[in-house]
């Protein structure tokens, strides 16, 4: 099988620095340079998917769902998914990120990515509880569940999909990755197994 390759991903340096993800911007440049033919068949660039401001909002949101999600590459995962398997969800991303920005400006005077963490949480709770009036027709809770699921997929799926960078997500929850075999001793242990982390590409 072929895994998606050649992610193009960029968030503003300010947001990246805020989440300690300076390496991420560099990584996106590297993958731009290394783009292969299969990747150029995808949409032509981040702007085709989300605006820089929307990526900033998404990064902030991902951090509120799972602190460390951006450093773990969750946005790279989502960006690739929006170019492929989840392309149908792109419109929903635009709608919900725009709504979060609008509500943040109205309530706190700045766009979503720029307001305080507690304020972001309050906005996300409103989205989750269907209390963002402008999203009621679009089913705010379902949009929240989708965003939450995609962030968690970015944290917990195999690194070949762009997230779970250096097994950051699996290290958080103590999952070593796919193994073809477990021994009886491993299976009956009531202590952590401390197996080396590995990806499907290591099988």
């Amino acid at each position: 099988m072929r895994y998606p390759r050649g992610a193009r991903f960029a968030i503003s340096r300010r947001v990246a620095m805020k989440f300690g993800a300076g390496a991420l911007v560099g990584a996106s440049v590297a993958s731009e340079a290394g783009r292969d033919a299969s990747a150029t068949a995808e949409p032509t660039g981040p702007a085709d998917r989300l605006t820089r401001e929307q990526y900033d909002g998404l990064a902030a949101l991902a951090e509120r769902i799972w602190p460390g999600a951006v450093a773990a590459g969750a946005l790279i995962y989502i960006d690739r998914a929006l170019a492929g398997a989840y392309a149908r969800d792109l419109a929903s991303y635009r709608v919900v990120l725009a709504a979060l920005d609008a509500r943040a400006k109205q309530q706190f005077g700045e766009r979503f990515a720029a307001v305080k963490g507690e304020q972001q949480d309050a906005l996300l709770r409103a989205l989750e509880a269907d209390a963002l009036g402008e999203l009621r027709a679009a089913n705010g809770p379902a949009l929240f569940e989708m965003l939450r699921a995609h962030v968690m997929e970015g944290v917990l799926s195999d690194p070949v999909y762009g997230g779970n960078r250096d097994f950051a997500g699996w290290k958080d929850v103590g999952y070593p990755g796919p193994y073809r075999l477990y021994t009886k001793d491993e299976q009956t242990s009531t202590q952590p197994l401390h197996m080396p982390y590995r990806s499907i590409k290591d099988l």
């Binding site: 099988m1 509120r64 769902i65 799972w66 602190p67 460390g68 398997a85 949480d121 996300l124 939450r148 699921a149 968690m152 997929e153 917990l156 799926s157 195999d158 999909y161 997500g169 699996w170 958080d172 929850v173 103590g174 999952y175 070593p176 796919p178 193994y179 073809r180 075999l181 477990y182 009886k184 491993e186 299976q187 009956t188 242990s189 009531t190 202590q191 952590p192 197994l193 499907i200 099988l203």
Partner: protein, 583 residues
């Protein structure tokens, strides 16, 4: 449209239900063609490495067709508008027998005569009157357990089921005092090999069950635990206890499926043609006989396949949908008495130990049957008329706690996102287990499948619409079982226990049975005891849709056994292809 050369037998779908009957008929010399909607995935190409990927198979569910192919809608009552609901079964050569857990039981002896058994037990006392008030449509099967026993045996020895016997011809736990299910229906002989070994989760469950005076056992599984060659000459490797089992194709060929345990033998017969990516749209019929099916092939061309015998062996929803869309309503019986389980499980987390639930297949399971069937009849009767329920549930531990499949399963006092959520998962994901209840649902007059008036697939065929609600008996049963599971967890020293004490109804709980009830007489069932449609005697149904009632055990082994039973009836000419009443 082209019309293809006629075959003796045309089979729609190649999942569990089609496997035995298609092989047996082909081996006996019938020309058989199987039209399977899904692709032909293989162990070597698709599963050997590709299976180790939760995103593909568990989250994005690459084997499960979308609403453009298999639209399903759901409502609780007939006066509601149904809304789209998720479909969960695999569409591929081998069907859901590829991505199932492998839990493989026989039904109870009294599952085959549920109406009589409950009448005898509770008819006089009126204890079970809540069933009648809810419109329960109980029935006896048109065949007895002893008639199916040889075919259960054939499944176990030909497809390969591992277990400890609990009852060999009436001798309880004949081999080891603490391993087999002492409540199981009598079997003629032992299993061909043993079940999977126990893991840390199983040991927690087992010790707690023993402490409470219950009788735990390891569930029988369709997974080879030693290198094993079936009577068909098909060799399979011993399971390596990887974790990519339920939701995944087996990397190692150990998990039994129609794909790995039956298809190679069918192909070897020389009379068996498999057409994957063949999407059947309708059954064409004339003068009360099926003459052909129309399907779209892998290149998008419409084809017509003629035949003498037709067997609808797709999933329950699709079998009903195909019949209704083809204008075959079987005296108004098609789609009636749909039965599926309520969604129900209870989880726990521990402070004092790790369980490493990610390490091992889902069906490494210890179970108890102490509260299944009528095994707890006395205790249930003591509950009084407001809490009494009939039947019960197998209760079992479940492994394969992979992160992408479990990150939503957190206690209600833990936030679902943010720092508190991350802290919880980081601390407890490997200290956590889930217990499942295989709760037996009843059939009801107002639970059924029909065609949705609005939603359609991409070919314009209406969606299957499911009407189903949780009824009194299921509600009482789940409350009771929840408390039993909680007691097990407390005995095990769990730090947190959570779950849904009150079940919810869903369109598909993967054990979706009934809808094409087999029965002893036309007018109250869709087919006779061999799955032959009363109103169209050269058209058969195979699969769980035939079941008049369900069981507190998983249905797949019974689906395979019924398929062998049907093939024997056809081969031994126990039925008449011109009159379904002449049996």
């Amino acid at each position: 449209m082209s019309t293809l050369p006629k075959k003796d037998v045309v089979i729609v779908g190649y999942g569990a239900a089609a496997g035995p009957v298609s092989l047996e008929l082909a081996a006996a010399g019938y020309s058989v063609v199987v039209l399977e909607r899904g692709p032909h995935l293989t162990t070597e190409r698709d599963f050997q490495t590709g299976s180790f990927d939760s995103l593909r198979w568990a989250v994005r569910q690459e084997m499960v067709p979308g609403a453009d192919i298999m639209p399903l809608t759901f409502r609780n009552r007939a006066d509601q508008v149904a809304i789209p609901a998720p479909y969960r079964m695999a569409s591929a050569v081998g069907g859901s027998s590829i991505h199932w857990s492998g839990q493989s039981w026989r039904f109870y002896e009294d599952d085959f005569r549920l109406r009589s058994a409950l009448d005898a037990a509770y008819g006089k006392s009126g204890l079970a009157d809540h069933l009648a008030a809810d419109g329960a449509a109980l029935a006896d099967w048109p065949l007895a357990y002893r008639e199916l026993e040889p075919f259960y045996d054939k499944v176990e020895y030909h497809i390969g089921i591992g277990g400890w016997p609990g009852n060999i011809a009436g001798a309880i736990r004949p081999l080891r005092s603490d391993e087999g299910n002492p409540f199981e229906a009598p079997r003629k002989r032992d299993y061909p090999f043993r079940p999977l070994r126990d893991n840390a989760t199983d040991l927690v469950f087992r010790e707690a069950a023993l402490a409470l005076g219950l009788k735990p056992f390891h569930v029988p599984t369709a997974i080879t635990t030693e290198d094993w060659t079936s009577p068909y000459g098909i060799s399979r490797n011993a399971c390596t206890y990887c974790s990519y089992c339920m939701n995944y194709g087996c990397w190692n060929g150990s998990k039994g499926s129609s794909l790995v345990a039956l298809l190679p033998a069918a192909l070897k017969s020389g009379n068996f043609e498999l057409r994957a990516n063949a999407h059947v749209l309708r059954v064409n019929h004339r003068n009360g006989r099926a003459v052909s099916v129309t399907y779209i092939d892998g290149e998008g061309r419409e084809q017509e396949q003629r035949g003498d015998i037709f067997i609808l062996a797709a999933y329950s929803f699709q079998n009903v949908r195909l019949l209704l869309h083809s204008g075959i309503d079987g005296n108004g019986q098609v789609g009636k008495y749909f039965i599926n389980r309520p969604e129900f499980h209870v989880s726990a987390a521990f402070d004092d130990r790790y369980l490493n639930g990610y390490a091992g297949p889902s069906v490494q399971r210890q179970a108890i049957d102490d509260f299944n069937g009528e095994n707890a009849a006395e205790e249930k009767q003591r509950l009084g008329p407001d809490s009494f329920f009939v039947r019960g549930a197998a209760i079992c531990s479940a492994s394969q706690r992979l992160p992408l499949e479990t990150y939503n399963d957190v206690p209600p006092d833990v936030p679902r996102w943010g720092a508190g959520y991350k802290a919880y998962l980081s601390q407890y994901l490997n200290r956590y287990l889930r217990v499942l209840a295989i709760a037996e649902p009843m059939p009801y007059e107002d639970c059924f499948i029909d065609l949705d008036p609005t939603h359609k697939d991409k070919y314009g065929v209406p969606a299957a619409r499911v009407t189903r609600a949780v009824k009194t008996n299921e509600l009482r049963m789940c409350r009771f079982i929840y408390d039993k599971i909680a007691a097990l967890y407390r005995a095990a020293g769990a730090a947190k226990i959570w779950g849904r004490r009150e079940p919810i109804a869903v369109a598909s709980m993967v054990h979706d049975c009934g809808g094409l009830r087999m029965g002893a007489e036309p007018g109250r069932s869709a087919t006779n005891r061999y799955g032959q449609l009363w109103t169209m005697p050269n058209l058969f149904v195979a699969g769980g849709a035939l079941m008049p009632t369900m069981s507190g055990h998983n249905p797949t082994e019974t689906i395979w056994a019924l398929s062998y039973w049907q093939s024997a009836a056809i081969l031994e000419k126990k039925l008449d292809l011109t009159d379904a009443r002449r049996i």
